[in-house]
Symmetry: C2
Subunit: 221 residues, 2 copies
DNA sequence: CGAAAGTAACTCACTGGTTCGTACATTACA
DNA sequence: TGTAATGTACGAACCAGTGAGTTACTTTCG
């Protein structure tokens, strides 16, 4: 075997290919998030990578499969991040408040993902439904919320008998809307919900809101 | 002047043109809502109207201007609907609950509008900003909420000192998310938030949620 | 051991269909 | 005759996707 750098082993080429695929996915995520599915250009993605369009088709098969791969990667990363959450050691009120704030931070930190979700909803989730990987992606968050709700009922901290999915939906709605609709909301109400001063207050607000709802009795006075 | 129906007055032709424009806008709204801005096809819109593509360009000037016209019409209608809301005669708690539920109903009834808002946010509101009509569309809803909040503070029903825009944002977030994200949420959690049984519960929930938040003291217990 | 066959990664040039937009002719009416 | 409205046909750019090969390495087998 020569000592020339030209002689590359198969494993090495494999790693190169994986790195290239990862690069394509990253660039594609930006492109799809910025322009939507129809607005995204495969040529543009190719141009922003070290590869060619031909290679994108070689690796992924087509625009739609590339888009689905982007979705799968994005969702998988998000779920992985969720797994690291540990609120089991906290008292119910603090646990749900912390979970709400973590969700808030998470949405704040993954703008491209939020956009992809929005885009996917415009297409009525037709691509997600084509992905087996995503179709079976039950959310462990629901387990966490369920446990917190049960503990809260037990301790008497929570009066409202809430459904875990509803609570998750409520928290997600708040966090999602602030990021996803920042532009139209900003244009219409002249307030940038993502500006630092508003960000901090709204972060506290999700927690307060959730706790207030769970604590509330039906209708006193 | 002949009595032939061929002889049509100028005013009559004008009305025809207006009717045609309205028809184009309606069809265009569906097309844009379904496929996004880039995904929408001018030829498709033309085919679904009694007009030709040539006339669309004659009336609106181009695809983007047509899209902006669609946005303007949709937003104007929504604001008009909001104007009809009257909660001034209600006590603060009932007033804010009613407002929340009306917002809920409104989102429920205008799916295409919700989609357009989502699409516009993907494009970071670039089209809305090009419209003078929409740029200056301050929301009267904020006045209503402000008055309710003030009355609630006065009467002692509300303890939380909330900002009107924040409250509006919170209510909108809940209502918007349920409709806009129904597809991905359904795919991931196996729940159709727009199904009748969930719809009713969630409608009550927005009201409860808002009231609970406004009533809540900082941290009792 | 070494030639031949095989294979994954990659390049280049190209195409067929689509899509926004328009030039030009024509009609309806003032 | 002039002007606004409308039909027809077309162009030019764009864009997803591919055909046909090349390179560089591995495996097979005489």
């Amino acid at each position: 075997m020569t000592s020339q750098p030209l002689a590359r082993a198969a494993g090495e080429r494999q790693r190169d290919a994986d790195r290239t695929k990862a690069e394509i996915l990253q660039v594609a995520q930006r492109e799809f998030a910025r322009h939507g599915y129809a607005g995204a250009r495969v040529d543009e993605i190719a141009e922003r990578t070290r590869t060619t369009k031909r290679m994108i088709y070689y690796y992924f098969g087509g625009k739609e499969q590339l888009y689905i791969a982007v979705l799968e990667k994005a969702y998988t990363e998000v779920r992985a991040a969720e797994q690291t959450v540990d609120v089991a050691h906290l008292a119910p009120v603090e646990a749900i408040r912390t979970l709400a704030e973590l969700t808030f931070d998470h949405h704040d930190a993954h703008r491209d993902f939020i956009k992809l979700v929005g885009i996917e909803n415009i297409h009525e989730a037709e691509h997600i439904r084509k992905s087996e990987l995503l179709a079976n992606l039950g959310a462990p968050v629901l387990d966490i919320i369920s446990r917190i709700l049960d503990a809260g009922q037990e301790s008497g901290d929570f009066v409202t008998e809430a459904d875990a999915i509803d609570v998750h939906m409520m928290i997600s709605a708040f966090c999602f809307f602030r990021v996803a609709n920042q532009h139209t909301f900003g244009a219409l109400f002249g307030r940038d919900m993502t500006a630092p001063e508003h960000r901090a207050r709204l972060r506290t607000m999700v927690g307060e809101l959730t706790v207030a709802y769970l604590r509330a009795a039906g209708a006193p006075a």
